[in-house]
């Protein structure tokens, strides 16, 4: 069976001439149906741009996105519309992802009616109520005639999920979907998403800057780490979290503040050679992490961009210097 989504050398450049920024640089990976993949990285690493290209909302400069084995740039308009509906996106900010002038009823029924997902106009309400129940907005009757600003952040995010479900998607890009939701209810939204994975056969690409969330959400899945537009490491979550190889992944893991005093005081501190992320306008040659990397090897790291190479324990690492070294995160 073909991967549901595959990226081949996906590249996105913005701007022209000297001002060209390569936001995503030859990213390749595949996602099998039912698999949960987390795309992790700091701001400006290109993870959201990648997500929007996967959702067909942004055209790549080079490379291609394959949906069920077919390149989406080669689809005819009917097939493209089918793909468009099969891949949905959930945005970070539930305050701007719902139109403030529409009631929840209008928001949910518009796609149902447009794509004839219900037999009669009158059935739309019933379907909308059912979808709201699916995302745990109960009782749905109390919610359906409200406006977005009358709901809490968590409730809005659930509405956004229900709206995505109206078109029976097979794949959902969740772009920082819980980072603006209150801490106490994040987990319930993640649990709900995990349930959809089972009930609706939806495959998720979960984009986040928060490694702890990625670890929790994709414990049985995979994590892909991006830095300045490139994938530096990927692999099964449990391997990547316990035995990261790329110095950047290690630096990220060691930097994450821990909500547990003992862990917080026993974290290995990795000293970087430079604190600031280079500008996308002036990327360093070779491995883009080399100016900050504690394991920098002159003459090797600053010459050619290291390729992603497989490691025995699973996944790929773009660091020939450190790919066989283990370090422990706690001391």
């Amino acid at each position: 069976m073909a991967p549901i989504i595959e990226l081949r050398n996906l590249t996105k450049r913005f701007g022209k001439g000297k001002e060209t920024v390569t936001a995503v640089d030859a990213v390749s990976f595949a996602i099998e149906p039912g698999e949960t993949v987390c795309l992790v990285g700091e701001s400006g690493c290109g993870k959201s741009t990648t997500g929007r290209m996967v959702a067909g909302l942004l055209d790549p400069t080079a490379g291609e996105v394959l949906f069920e084995g077919k390149s989406i740039s080669k689809l005819d308009s009917t097939a493209f519309r089918r793909y468009r509906q099969s891949v949905q996106i959930i945005h970070q900010d539930p305050y701007s992802s719902l139109n403030p002038t529409q009631t929840i009823r209008e928001i949910i029924t518009a796609p149902l009616l447009r794509h004839n997902k219900v037999k009669k106009r009158g059935d739309a309400e019933g379907r909308a109520l059912a979808l709201l129940e699916v995302v745990d907005l109960t009782p749905a009757r109390d919610i359906i005639d409200k406006y977005p600003h009358q709901l809490s952040g968590g409730q809005r995010q659930r509405v956004a999920v229900a709206r995505a479900l109206t078109v029976d998607p097979k794949f959902i890009v969740a772009d920082e979907a819980v980072s603006m939701v209150d801490v106490s209810i994040r987990v319930s939204i993640l649990t709900m998403l995990a349930r959809l994975k089972q009930e609706f056969d939806v495959t998720f690409l979960f984009i986040t800057h928060d490694l702890a969330l990625a670890k929790y959400f994709a414990w049985e899945g995979r994590i892909t780490v991006m830095y300045l537009g490139r994938v530096v490491e990927d692999g099964p979550t449990q391997r990547l979290i316990t035995d990261a190889r790329h110095p950047y992944t290690q630096a990220l893991l060691s930097a994450v503040p821990e909500a547990d005093p003992e862990l917080a005081h026993h974290k290995r501190q990795i000293e970087l050679r430079g604190a600031e992320i280079p500008s996308l306008l002036a990327l360093p040659p070779g491995c883009t992490f080399h100016p900050r990397c504690p394991y920098f090897v002159p003459g090797q790291c600053d010459v050619a961009a290291p390729p992603l190479e497989p490691v025995a324990e699973g996944g790929r690492v773009a660091c020939p210097v450190r790919k066989l070294e283990h370090i422990s995160l706690l001391v």
Binding site: S97, R114, V167
Partner: protein
């Protein structure tokens, strides 16, 4: 039934929000009063057309509220009868220019690329042509003795600045996530423009409409004053024009004759402009659902 009840609920929400800004609400009340006087007044107050030699240029009095003109006719009755044509032409013009600006401004922003370039290019060229001389020249070629045609004519010339503003507004809305979500859901361009973008610009559109309205009043009066539009009926512009051509500014006694229509226009404009403060509140989607 439901529709009627819905309309009344809409109306009561709107009125309640309008009261939140006191100046705006006063503007709203003043606008309503002027409209009532100009639209319903003529049925109750007959237009005074008989020449009364003994009452030429009377100052305001209990009998003649606004005084009398050079033939001793009551100015108040002329003001009451002279408003509806001015307002009618302005409303036609404002509707047309707002419709053009909203439709093409939003389309331009949303379509982008060549369509955007073409629309904006045309708009910019249109904006660089000085409006009033163009009007004057055009008016010389086209006979505008029909009020609706005059309104359409003014509307066709008044959309450009508005379109630029609407486009800017739409461009910023277009970046909002809910528009992207609508694209991902494949809801179609018409849905995105008229269900997602336009409702969020309602405040802006309503205010643009009132501004277009006031602009149309001035242009219209200006054209009439210059005698470029041969409007035969009596209206505020014609009143000023007549007073002007008959040299009313040189007689102290004729002050009321030229001042009253000017005051009527100024008061109408002031009321409408002040009212926009309340409209801003009344069409704010967030406020609407909080009442």
């Amino acid at each position: 039934m439901g529709v009627i009840r819905g309309f009344f609920r809409w109306l009561s929400t709107t009125l309640k929000l309008m009261t939140y800004n006191k100046a705006g609400f006063i503007g709203f009340l003043a606008t309503c009063s002027i409209l009532i006087v100009c639209l319903i007044g003529p049925f109750f107050i007959p237009l005074d057309t008989t020449t009364k030699i003994d009452q030429i240029y009377q100052p305001p009095s209990a009998e003649h509220w606004f005084g009398t003109d050079h033939q001793g006719r009551d100015i108040f009755s002329q003001i009451v009868h002279g408003g509806k044509d001015v307002i009618y032409v302005a409303v036609v013009a404002a509707f047309l220019s707002t419709a053009i600006a909203v439709t093409f401004g939003t389309m331009s922003a949303f379509a982008g690329g060549k369509i955007d370039g073409a629309i904006m290019g045309f708009t910019d060229i249109f904006l660089t042509i000085p409006q009033f001389p163009l009007l004057a020249v055009l008016a010389a070629f086209i006979t505008l003795d029909n009020l609706t045609y005059l309104g359409i004519f003014l509307g066709l010339l008044g959309w450009a600045a508005l379109l630029r503003a609407v486009r800017a507004q739409a461009l910023s809305l277009k970046e909002r996530d809910f528009v992207e979500a609508a694209r991902a859901l494949d809801l179609g361009t018409l849905h995105i423009v008229f269900r997602e973008l336009v409702p969020n610009m309602m405040t802006y559109i309503v205010i643009s409409f009132t501004l277009a309205l006031t602009a149309a009043v001035y242009t219209q009066v200006g054209l009439v004053l210059l005698g470029l539009v041969p409007v035969s009926s009596s209206n505020w512009g014609v009143m000023i024009s007549m007073a002007w051509t008959q040299g009313a500014i040189f007689f102290r006694d004729a002050m009321w004759r030229i001042m009253m229509p000017i005051l009527a226009i100024a008061l109408f404009q002031l009321s409408v402009i002040t009212m926009t403060r309340s409209l801003e509140l009344a069409f704010n989607p967030r406020l609407r659902t909080m009442v």
